[in-house]
């Protein structure tokens, strides 16, 4: 497929360009690499990093206490054995999906607007997976035996239960983490070489030099690089769909009312992309503001992301509708009871809050004026993040707290440790993100350069 061919119609159909005019190869490189190499560390960065880092320390503290005392410090008990840990796991892993979608599928589809957001979307994926991975491990109770999840020769002659979706999950998530890391790193190599060449102090030269792995930018390097990128994109593409499908199996393979439905895989995947794009937007808006990257991350990008959110949000809405419809259409009394309990039971407030956050409020993005308003988009993206978290809360907690036997009914209340662990992982996520912004190029320099080249050919420079 000819990249130029797809370029023209995209350019002509939108009011906003994917890169503001007036940039040359040199100025693009200067602008992006100066965030890392120039200026020194800004006060704003230090302030933000300090907050994120203190939250990370909170995580250290809670995890330390958890390892000493056990999962009893959380609010989980029978019947609600899954609680916050699984809610947060699904939430974080879902957030990662936008990064993979942007970097893999949009790359294969030659969507050039992905260029300026893919780097930090991929970073976001990695950091989100890191946060997600912690929860099931901590929830195991004896996290130091986590390697029992892997099939390896052992003196117990014991393998994991391959019929259990929880084991599929281990493979899905670890594959996802590995491929995402490789994809991100391979994409970084040419830019790391740029930073190595531009760095002024010795330590930076050595560190970027090691990471650049001897990249010299020869034609052979580029040709291999292109092959590797396409191959990794091909590997990552099925992961966009498969990872959250397997996560949904954790629920849908079980017999619990509200979990045992065939709509779960597609609706989980759509929800994952929905929440992921919301998170990309939550991060992109402040980053472009604080680092003056409005010329690279334009309203075109925000508008496109808003449209993706609208589309996936509607799929999610369809999922909610179908769940409700099938509960009555199937005639299964347990399913019917579950839906009624969801809507009117003790957690009904959270269900209706979820509907408001995920379905009702985002509909205002149909208005072009809203899609052009950065502040409103930011607020909506936060609301969707909350909504998607509530969705997982509703699925996990409401289904479990009213079991088949009324004698085993109970309530779930998160403890302060539940909250501290959750907030702590947000601290981990933000800490990694701040370090990433400070030490690596947030936007792919060489891809922006090629974008400048292509746009230059069509429109002569001003």
């Amino acid at each position: 497929m000819d990249p130029e061919g797809s370029q023209t119609p995209i350019e002509s159909t939108s009011a906003h360009p994917i890169i503001e005019p007036g940039y040359t190869l040199g100025t693009v490189t200067d602008k992006i690499s100066s965030i890392v190499l120039g200026r020194g560390t800004s006060k704003g960065w230090i302030f933000g990093f300090a907050i994120a880092f203190s939250l990370l320390m909170l995580l250290n503290f809670t995890v330390g206490y958890l390892l000493i005392k056990g999962v009893g410090i959380w609010g989980i008990n029978i019947p609600v054995g899954w609680g916050f840990a699984i809610v947060n796991f699904v939430w974080w892993i879902g957030i990662g999906h936008a990064g993979t979608l942007i970097s893999a599928i949009l790359l294969l589809l030659r969507q050039q607007w992905r260029t300026s957001i893919n780097r930090f979307a991929e970073a976001m994926t990695l950091f989100a997976v890191a946060c997600a991975g912690m929860f099931p491990l901590l929830h195991m109770g004896r996290p130091w035996l986590f390697f029992w999840l892997m099939p390896y020769p052992n003196p117990m002659w014991l393998w994991p239960q391959f019929r259990s979706p929880l084991v599929w999950d281990v493979f899905a998530v670890s594959t996802y983490a590995t491929v995402s890391l490789l994809f991100w790193f391979v994409g970084l190599v040419p830019d790391l070489a740029t930073l190595r060449d531009r760095a002024r102090n010795r330590a930076a030269k050595v560190v970027y030099g090691i990471l650049a792995m001897g990249w010299r930018g020869s034609a052979v390097h580029w040709s291999r690089y292109e092959t590797a990128s396409i191959l990794l994109a091909g590997l990552a593409t099925p992961l966009v769909v498969s990872v959250h499908t397997v996560v949904s199996f954790d629920f849908s393979v079980a017999q619990v009312a509200g979990w045992h439905t065939t709509i779960f895989p597609p609706y989980f995947v759509a929800g994952a992309i929905y929440s992921g794009f919301a998170m990309v937007m939550t991060l992109a808006i402040p980053i472009r503001k604080f680092y003056n990257l409005e010329d690279f991350i334009t309203m075109r990008h925000l508008g496109n992301m808003a449209k993706v959110m609208l589309a996936t949000g509607l799929i999610v809405a369809y999922g909610y509708m179908m769940e409700t419809f099938m509960a009555f259409y199937s005639g299964n009394p347990f399913d019917r009871f579950l839906i009624i309990n969801r809507m009117t039971g003790p957690y009904a407030f959270f269900y209706w809050l979820l509907i408001a956050c995920n379905i009702v409020i985002p509909q205002i993005m149909w208005l072009r004026s809203v899609r052009n308003n950065v502040a409103i988009l930011f607020v909506i993206s936060l609301i969707v993040n909350v909504g998607m978290w509530l969705e997982r809360f509703v699925i996990v907690v409401i289904s479990l707290h009213r079991d088949f036997l009324p004698s085993s009914w109970g309530m779930y209340y998160p403890t302060r440790w539940d909250w501290a662990t959750y907030v702590g992982t947000i601290g981990l996520f933000l800490t990694l993100l701040f370090l990433f912004i400070r030490f690596l190029p947030v936007i792919s320099i060489y891809e922006m350069r090629s974008l400048v080249e292509e746009t230059d050919e069509e429109k002569p420079k001003k």
Partner: protein, 215 residues
């Protein structure tokens, strides 16, 4: 200006390719240690407060296992003999042997001898001696040739793989019920034939559910 010496090329290649083999080797070494007596303490004679010799008592004198381990046929625990059991003989013979002073002290002061446990299963394993003994699993199958141990040692790892080996194929180890307490039992040449017959005769089931042992 060159940042790195040109040898870096070789070092980086070796370390990247080598990482796989180093990790595999490390895993292999750890696994080998886990299986070796360094970790399992198999075949390691253990110090005891009194140097009790199974070789002398069970092997040379021919005292039946059940004379001391009285509950082995009725209970999950085979039973450790009280000092009174020792004194049934040692109040008559070797009454002044200095080696036996801790036994006499225990008898005088009515305080148990603190033996060092040699064969111990973790608490999360439900194990019952009586069922094994009454289905034709001999003492020496698990505990080794106790009649030849001057100081007692562990003869097997007691790892789950070791349990499963028999639980999956009991015919490899089962013997005539009359020979269960024979300390010098030798596995016959036709074990598989005999085993298959006894498994049927004793109605032995191959129990490998998790909940058989982890209740």
């Amino acid at each position: 200006m060159q940042i790195f010496h040109h040898s870096t090329n070789t070092i980086s290649r070796v370390s990247i390719y080598g990482a796989v083999f180093i990790l595999a080797l490390l895993g292999g070494v750890l696994y080998a240690i886990e299986l070796s007596p360094i970790y399992t303490r198999v075949n390691e004679a253990r110090e005891q407060p009194v140097p009790f010799s199974h070789k002398h008592h069970a092997g040379e004198l021919g005292i039946d296992c059940r004379y001391c381990h009285t509950t082995v046929e009725k209970s999950s625990f085979a039973g450790l003999p009280p000092t009174q059991t020792c004194m049934t003989c040692h109040s008559q013979i070797w009454t002044n042997a200095p080696m036996l002073e801790p036994v006499r002290a225990s008898y005088r002061d009515d305080k148990s001898i603190a033996w060092t446990r040699v064969n111990a299963l973790p608490d999360f394993v439900y194990f019952d001696h009586s069922i094994h003994v009454s289905k034709g699993i001999g003492c020496t199958t698990c505990h080794g040739q106790v009649g030849e141990m001057p100081l007692t040692w562990k003869a097997n790892t007691l790892y789950m793989s070791w349990c499963l080996d028999c639980h999956r194929q009991p015919e490899k180890y089962v013997r005539e019920k009359s020979k269960v307490f024979d300390p010098g039992y030798v596995t016959p040449a036709n074990q598989m034939e005999l085993g298959a017959r006894l498994v049927k005769e004793y109605k032995i089931h191959s129990l490998t559910d998790c909940s058989t042992c982890h209740r």
